[in-house]
Symmetry: C2
Subunit: 272 residues, 2 copies
């Protein structure tokens, strides 16, 4: 049987560095497929091409047009095999149209030195049982975001007021996170996790999904099993765009992934 | 005559989307050419290809091998012209070897909506005359980093203790910044400014230049003339790598550019 996520990111090697994928309808949000899920599909193809360097260390994706459920191809190219990392490129296409283009550095996270000198601190989340389960999301959110059913996340109520029309205005969303069927995190699933939660603009009183222009993910360590803590924040909403930073912490309290994306402000603006 | 920076990023159109450049020796740091300067050369070629959308909005560069002073080619490709932005790719090569590969979104910053709802706050810098001029940098720094002479920057003394063997340990470097010959900032020069200062690892007691694996720049507005404020910070030094976030603020107090890079920890480690 296996887990849903693994089935949904499955790829078949078609020809020299090119893979066939089938984007699953369960990951739809708004007008298209969730960008984080699509990134994990690309990441899975790159892993296959990268061979003995199986882990994404840095991945930058530029979203050209909306992906939709159904067949897709992922064409990968190795640009350089260095002493310890490999740089690659990937293009995801549907119906002959390029949807996402990406650059990536792959390596072996297990082989990195053990030193950790971080000044970053874990998100301060209330205990699981005091957070709001994703299953309690408003009907309208679940309708435009079937992907919410892939997850079991528990939102910090301090930044969940938008669900009842009272956004905190902080530009923050944070939650406990795991996949609904209990599939444990790994470096590829982290690529999805970095873009899984609702956009931070919800917390600024702007409902509506926010299309990503560019997202760069850094995976810094292999995550331990168990619940993840995910925190999204934005500081600069300007010129119709905002940056969204994401951090993912594992159950041992280690910062395992970071990302920044540049996204367009949702069209329908309330509050403000 | 013109300004040094403009001469040094000059490109000649050679063929369909390909440009000839000449990387100037004045931008050497450590074993190669400064990554921010190289990014500005690439950004200048992309600007030429992007035509009526002249401004970099997002640029992600992956550094494959060290660039050196001398001739280079920049091959550009337009991937998609959307409703308001164009996505492009670029490859910088020397001696037939790919040095840097990049993806980018270009647009017209002047045409963006005026709304600004930022919660980010300007770096808190002492007045210019209380900061340490780059010309006072230690001899060994100037020797490995001729590029320092391109700038007139004034470091916040609170994070400049590394220059006398007393790093603050905060992982922060911040300074007033301008080009030495007074050339005013613009969106292309911001690409350089985002990677101009010494690496934040200096402030963690790790001398030595830190090779960039990946750098993504977001240019959020056309900068006003005058001094810029630049702040670099890292929070997660782990596994031999660290992320370095940079912000550039213009003389009107607007956040005009943001970047994050993933770099390798310098080899020679002191303090720690």
């Amino acid at each position: 049987m296996g887990h849903e996520f693994d089935r949904d990111i499955e790829i078949d090697h078609a020809a020299d560095g090119t893979y066939a994928a089938d984007l699953a309808p369960g990951w739809v949000v708004g007008g298209g497929i969730n960008g984080g899920y699509a990134l994990a599909v690309i990441g899975n193809a790159l892993r296959s091409t990268a061979g003995s360097r199986p882990d994404p260390i840095a991945v930058s994706a530029y979203y050209l047009s909306a992906t939709t459920p159904g067949p897709a191809t992922v064409a990968t190219r190795t640009l350089r095999e260095g002493g310890s990392v490999t740089t690659l490129a990937a293009d995801l296409a549907q119906d002959g149209q390029q949807r996402i283009t990406a650059l990536a550095t792959y390596g072996a996270l297990d082989g990195l030195p053990d030193d950790v000198r971080t000044t970053a601190t874990e998100p301060d989340l209330p205990p699981l049982e005091e957070c709001l389960p994703s299953s309690m999301a408003p009907e309208e959110v679940l309708r435009i975001a079937p992907l919410m059913q892939r997850f079991d996340f528990r939102m910090d109520p301090a930044y969940a007021g938008w669900a009842v029309g009272k956004p905190s205005g902080s530009g923050v969303i944070q939650a406990w996170f795991r996949l609904a069927d209990g599939r444990e995190p790994d470096p590829i699933s982290l690529l999805m996790t970095l873009d899984a939660l609702p956009p931070v603009t919800f917390d600024l009183g702007m409902p509506g999904w926010a299309p990503t222009l560019e997202l760069t993910a850094h995976v810094r360590a292999v995550p331990a099993p168990g619940w993840l803590k995910v925190r999204h924040a934005t500081r600069n909403l300007a010129g119709g765009m905002f940056e969204e930073d994401c951090e993912v912490w594992d159950s041992t309290g280690r910062l395992v992934a970071q990302s920044r994306q540049l996204a367009r402000q949702p069209r329908s603006v309330e509050g403000g």
